[in-house]
Symmetry: C2
Subunit: 451 residues, 2 copies
């Protein structure tokens, strides 16, 4: 139950990796986007490397616009649904945590509570739910809305949604199921707690028809970077992802979010922070850079234009990739992501990059480290020892090779430095993360309820 | 693809069986309601017996009233969620179909389409969705409604819901995913089909973010006995369950539903009918009757009173189980299930049974056969050869013993008679059922679309 002072590691399991051209460089000659054996292999590989968590990102809906770009890769366009995928993976793995994204904007609390409670039982205590509010209108339209509600409303709904889910997970107390064959008492009605919730967004009167999950409550993940997102994480999450690029930013985030946790009356150490981190391993730094360059050169022009165009807030589709971006099509200021916009404008104005050079150079968020096991471990040690995070969300540009190389080269280096576990010491995801099992809010003991 | 002229078999996998006292008579000393290894064993046992389908019934919500009775057993009160459970079972089995119930009243079409499409990919073409509209107000209250919408409205919503789900399953054509690493074309946008649906209940504009399921469309199951239910089944289902008690009733149902299928312009043989059937096997008829009596004697008085009282539409909770039911507490006529009500009134008035005898004798629906393998196979042969059904939903009063005995004794008898397959001849559930794989509605061929 007590964390061993080591860093935590999670693997972001996008099918062929995070890089848009990952699938073009894979050894496989057939698509693995919906191949359960492939995902089982990835999860087993991460488990052999003693990862805390295998993580499935998700968005509820395919893009239906810009298909010239979005048809150029599997990510978010062709993917297994997270809770069913993770339930299947629970049967091919034994220890690694299994986390997936589900949106509070497009689910009912009751259904979502059941899916993750069920996953927690099936996996014997390894489930995690990444709470997102969704940020794309294309998802909203698949659920009958013209567009997403405003940010503040989405987060207010998310907060209420999480409260309901957590209350439903506590329907049965831990010892409610008696299974007394002699008397015929299957469960004790006094330890069964329906809820009667009426809030701004939901009215839920009922009880979850599943015993309390093995973890008490499945792990709650959050990734919001906004003020509302940080508040939600500080109040409700067990684990938070951040995607800052520099040590200083990550450190500031870490300190900020832990201070917020304390303001909610929680022990700051009960919220773990994983920094997004994109390692590219090579026998030498030059080999790592070569690998990265190979991927960058495989970016399809339509994808490159779409990706840069989105953050530059300009339509680049008609431009020649091998000419600089004309300054007159760039808007005066950003409407969406100011930081990404400014990075791009700087590259265009001051470095006079061509459009192709731009999409090969520019990457949003998530610190990338190209180099040897030592180079990569150095950065991880700096961030972890410097208390900029409690561990890392490993975002491999390419899979499966990324996790294979990371597991075979970087993990042993981290272990040699004493930064990372040699083996699992517990069986549940909460055990791996060093998080206590929450008591039921109805438990009749001297200790205060933590749920 | 062509059905072999044999009967189909499905197993209703309620944790310790359909009988309310099944769990009290099990060999296990611990609860298996949320034990994935236990369910894997059940599914493997049914698969070794070459069953078409392993089926999980469900209701979205625990009862919160009458807990004195509902706390006396696990069924529907403590259960894994069907799609996550079936995804896990897909990894412990290879051939058997995997079907589960999900309600059109409490899901969004997009989420449900994804869950079952994902299950179909994970299981390599073995998924089935049992479309229900729910019939209990306690579920409605868990989803913010005071009570369920009227029957006709629920069925109208179900019809629209199924149409949307089926359209979403056809988002990608079968050959849409190109995986052309050389050119960077992952899928062909011309073979990707968003929908723009606007109906009485749903507005869905979008596309499913998963490749077309291996079965083209997962199998659609329906169990509605009402006129609206039969119409929905005839129009949309691949498989229908019925729960008639007698050969004549089942035969009438079979003929009726096939005539309805034809009226929708479908080949009647494309809707398979499974009759609910509760076998209790014994080396002799007396042994089978003994087994059944043992179970009946284990019915908890609270459960017996609640079950009889529900159909008698009277509060029996204060009565002495060993006295006859006083005639003056019985209403003049039934409000809910006329047939069940009249069966009970007959037993009370003409047989003068005590309350305990009543709950031990009375059973709702689902033909029960107590006897040897020959006795059981005789009834199955009569119904199947007499075209009262295409096969059976085997509803074991007790599990796991019910499937063990059925597999070891009844299945060989059916095989000896040439009524049942010796082995699977295909790999998908549609193969087992003898149902063609539906073409995409967008397929550009000379054949008419079947989706």
């Amino acid at each position: 139950m007590v964390k061993d002072g080591k860093m935590s590691l999670a693997l972001l399991a996008l099918v062929n990796g995070h890089h848009s051209a990952g699938w073009r460089n894979t050894a496989s000659d057939t698509d693995t986007a919906t191949d359960i054996d492939y995902f089982t292999y990835l999860a087993q590989r991460a488990e052999r490397a003693k990862f805390d968590l295998f993580f499935i990102a998700d968005t509820p809906g395919a893009r239906i616009d810009h298909l010239d770009a979005y048809s150029r890769g599997p990510n978010y366009m062709n993917c297994l649904e997270p809770t069913t995928l993770l339930s299947a993976l629970a049967r091919g793995t034994e220890r690694i945590g299994l986390g997936g994204t589900a949106s509070t904007s497009f689910y009912e609390p009751f259904n979502l509570a059941r899916l993750f409670a069920s996953l927690d039982h099936i996996s014997h205590g390894r489930a995690a739910w990444n709470v997102v509010t969704s940020s794309n209108d294309h998802a909203a339209r698949a659920f009958g809305h013209a567009k997403l509600p405003p940010h503040a409303e989405r987060y207010a709904r998310a907060k209420e949604f999480v409260e309901i889910v957590r209350a439903l997970w506590d329907t049965y107390e831990d010892d409610a199921i008696r299974f007394d064959k002699a008397t015929g008492e299957y469960f004790d009605p006094a330890k069964f707690h329906p809820i009667d919730h009426e809030g701004a967004f939901f009215k839920v009167r009922g009880a979850l028809n599943i015993a309390r999950p093995p973890q008490g409550q499945p792990v709650i993940i959050q990734a919001g970077a906004s003020n509302a997102g940080r508040e939600l994480a500080a109040e409700t999450a067990d684990l938070v992802f951040n995607s800052d690029d520099t040590f200083e930013e990550a450190k500031a985030y870490y300190d900020d979010v832990r201070a917020r946790v304390a303001r909610f009356g929680r022990d700051p150490s009960t919220l773990k922070v994983l920094a997004g981190f994109a390692p590219v391993w090579g026998e030498s730094k030059w080999e790592a850079e070569d690998k990265h360059r190979t991927l960058q050169e495989l970016v399809t022009p339509m994808v490159g234009k779409q990706r840069v165009g989105q953050d530059l807030e300009a339509d680049l589709s008609g431009l020649d990739p091998d000419q600089p971006v004309p300054l007159d099509i760039i808007p005066a200021s950003a409407n969406q992501h100011t930081r990404y916009f400014e990075q791009l404008v700087h590259m265009i104005k001051h470095e006079r990059l061509t459009l192709r050079q731009l999409w090969q150079r520019y990457e949003r968020g998530n610190k990338r480290v190209l180099g040897t096991a030592k180079d990569i471990a150095d950065v991880m040690e700096e961030w972890f020892a410097g208390k900029a995070c409690d561990g890392f969300m490993v975002i491999c540009p390419q899979l499966p090779v990324g996790i294979e190389e990371f597991a075979d080269h970087v993990v042993p280096e981290l272990q040699r430095r004493g930064l990372y576990r040699e083996d699992y010491s517990g069986t549940t995801l909460r055990d791996h993360l060093g998080l206590a099992r929450p008591q039921s809010r109805y438990a009749r003991t001297a200790e205060p309820a933590m749920g």
